[in-house]
Point group: C3
């Protein structure tokens, strides 16, 4: 992603109290970690444990904390600030704005909007988007090939990337970001086995996302059997996540890549579900619970519980079990020895 920043512009962004050491004549055209940066790049010391990498970095400009004392090399500029990570964030935000200027307002000539849909004049509706009957789209951005079902609602300042499907009757809150190819409002997976076959149970509910929800690429969120599958304010969902019907997720949760939540389970606020974890259905997961990567959770969890492993064990116990497992081969050997010792003791005892 091409950009060019002058030193002057960088200093304007990171603030007045920055202190400069050394000299670099030229522009910045890239950002890289201390070890990967090349000439022309800006780098930074965000974590003190990488302090030793600074001296060897080929970056032309390095953001450093105030207490860093070494001197820069020739043709290198050190910029010392109170919080290098924050300074970097300010820079990145500025770069993002120049790389992603605001989308053009209006409906692209190739898009199709049903006559009975209502689209805000402040919305940006991209190429080949489809907006169904009765849908209401706020001041949102829809990139290309987005499909908005009938009677669906899209909140203001929401950004919907290409090829997202928002199903009929679903409601997307304000300031959501829906990554490419995610599906909001697929049918819940509900069947009853009668007359020798799985009969579909009607799924007449919807999905409701509150404010500031992010949904990752290729993630699926099923509509409720009735009522709503709900994603709470500020919850961030990663790629390839499965959220089943009637799940209710609280506020500010992190649901990380390839994890899954089965039907009707409720998550409190601030729950973290790490990658590839799974939670069974009809459970309650308390506020602040943390579920480790790859864990399987078959039971409800108390607030702030920390669990791991295929049966959702307390994290400390599971870690201990994992260490002891490695000693099982040794244990079995020791055990054979013990049995023999007892046998021989018993014999001696008898003949003693």
């Amino acid at each position: 992603m091409p950009f060019t920043y002058s030193i002057q512009r960088i200093l304007e962004i990171v603030g007045d109290d920055a202190q400069c050491f050394g000299e670099y004549q030229g522009s910045i055209t890239g950002i890289g970690s201390l070890s990967e940066a090349v000439a022309g790049d800006l780098s930074f010391l965000g974590n003190p444990k990488y302090r030793e990498l600074v001296a060897d970095s080929a970056a032309s400009v390095v953001l450093l904390p105030l207490d860093y004392t070494e001197a820069p090399k020739a043709k290198q500029l050190y910029i010392k600030v109170e919080n290098p990570s924050y300074a970097l964030a300010l820079l990145c935000r500025d770069m993002e704005k120049s790389l992603q200027p605001p989308a053009e307002v209006g409906v692209h000539p190739t898009a199709f909007v049903d006559l009975d849909a209502v689209v805000s004049p402040a919305a940006s509706v991209g190429p080949f988007c489809y907006i169904g009957k009765g849908a209401v789209v706020g001041a949102a951005v829809l990139e290309a090939h987005v499909s908005i079902g009938k009677y669906a609602k899209i909140g203001d300042e929401t950004h919907i990337f290409s090829q997202v499907v928002v199903g009929d009757y679903c409601e997307i809150g304000p300031r959501n970001r829906l990554q490419p190819s995610c599906v909001i409002g697929s049918d819940g997976y509900g069947y009853e086995f009668t007359k020798g076959a799985h009969q579909r149970v009607p799924q007449i509910g919807n999905v409701v996302t509150e404010a500031d929800v992010d949904v990752g690429a290729n993630t699926s969120i099923d509509r409720a059997r009735f009522g709503s599958t709900v994603i709470g304010t500020g919850t961030k969902i990663d790629n390839l996540v499965q959220i089943a019907h009637n799940v209710r997720i609280g506020k500010h949760c992190l649901i990380i890549g390839q994890s899954g939540i089965s039907g009707s389970t409720e998550l409190g606020d601030g729950v973290v579900l790490a990658g590839q974890a799974g939670v069974a259905g009809h459970l309650k997961i308390g506020d602040g619970a943390m579920i480790a990567g790859g864990a399987g959770v078959p039971h409800s969890l108390e607030p702030n519980a920390k669990v791991r492993g295929p049966t959702g064990e307390p994290m400390m116990l599971y870690n201990r079990i994992m260490v002891l497992q490695r000693r099982l081969p040794d244990l079995f050997k020791r055990f054979d020895k013990v049995e023999k010792s007892i046998e021989s003791l018993a014999k001696r005892d008898t003949h003693g």
Copy 2:
């Protein structure tokens, strides 16, 4: 999803033999579980274990079994029927029909149908659909942005949601439901390592789904290397499932979210693969086998086998192992003690 039902209409649907207790003047505009329902909602007692929740429910109307004896509150109507779950299902089916009226027959003006494709006059082809050369589409519904590859076939009464891809030469049976963004007929993953690189093995087969198959959102089913990847009649596949090339799935199987089946494996009839489970390649899974959530199955299974855990252990054994694992820390401690006791016994014995 907005709807309004009068009490009279509800009684028409649930049948003549319903018995009414109490009185509610007004309409029903929602459905909710006993604990979540609010005024204006209908609720139900489907499972006897929730009987105690009935008295506290704020629902305006509650479907109850005939043997329920308590009286309703003021402004509350109890409707007693033989099978409240069945009565609810009848209601939901009626609501679904009003929420999802039949799709308009015909080809949307924005769709593109190849001149050499054959589309039934009873089909509904939605906005921006693409139907390739030689494809044959029956009396099916295609929502928006559906991609039907060349020479593909789509059966009657099949419903294809938005942004589904059916690849070239694939055959979808009658009464299938393909949820949004699923892919039928991606290339099988087959390579041979020669000349220093992975060379692609041609994948010239297709995918065939029989009647009444459901496929979930963002699920992928790969085409066969040659011949067909086959999904049997009545099998229901959930979201984000991976089905590799040349897999053959029998009839009436349930393949649940995020599970995966590797190449050339065959499933019998009535197999259940729970969430996030995986089955290795070239195996035979017998009729009625049940594979627990998160399990990994590295070997073939007998009919009606029940397995769990990362190595596909018999379920009873795995459950026992999981219980004993929790006692490993204690076992190791006890074991240290035992070794010391033996040592001291041996000493005494020697000096005794």
Copy 3:
């Protein structure tokens, strides 16, 4: 997938030195394994362990190794060649060419190409494709509903299947194959918790795929926080895989279905990640490492390491642990006995 091959055409393809035994009058219209092939099919003996299946095969034509000595049945033709698998591959490649003739060059009338995009005159751009501002598309094939973001680059001879999204600024190398509905360049999952909410960290990098990369259906590859997420030459990625921001994958790796790689992790060359495996973030996985199906890897790996299990144990150790686990119920019983024996020995000892 329909095709018809005469015996003469088959012999032309498999080469001059083929030896024919028996006689089959007719054409070949299918390929099947020895046990599944029916009359009219061609089959083959690729793996010597299936030698006994040859005699019972109903295939009309069988490719066999030179050292196969049994005689064909009536109306059956045996073709002996040095390497039956290679002969089959030659046939399949020929069939693939006839089933998949070269895509028509040019931009489909329903596609939308931004005025500021550059598309090679040798490219094939399918129905409803969208190509954004500043994008550069080489002599590639784009099937239907493909979305190419602004300033993205697509290499020559790359084949992009339907409904793929290539995000803004991403660069796809030559001879890539991107399967349907995969997403290249979704936002990385990066947040900082401040002011009571998860604040999005700008993701201003891109994704770069080198030459000969394959990406599976419904797979997601996130763009870098800054710099690039990189997929090395010849690496083949399967369906439903998650690749997080700033991951760097070396050359000729195999990343199999539903596996996931967390942020900033680096894979060397020739790494194999089997199905449903996961690798944590900020790790280094050495060249040639093999990670078993379903494994979870929480630490970096040496070159050629082979690991398995939820904590990434050495494969031999994990296999041993799995065997011993099955003996835990027995061990606990034996252990109870041992404790009793010691007690009784201690008693005798005391009273002896």
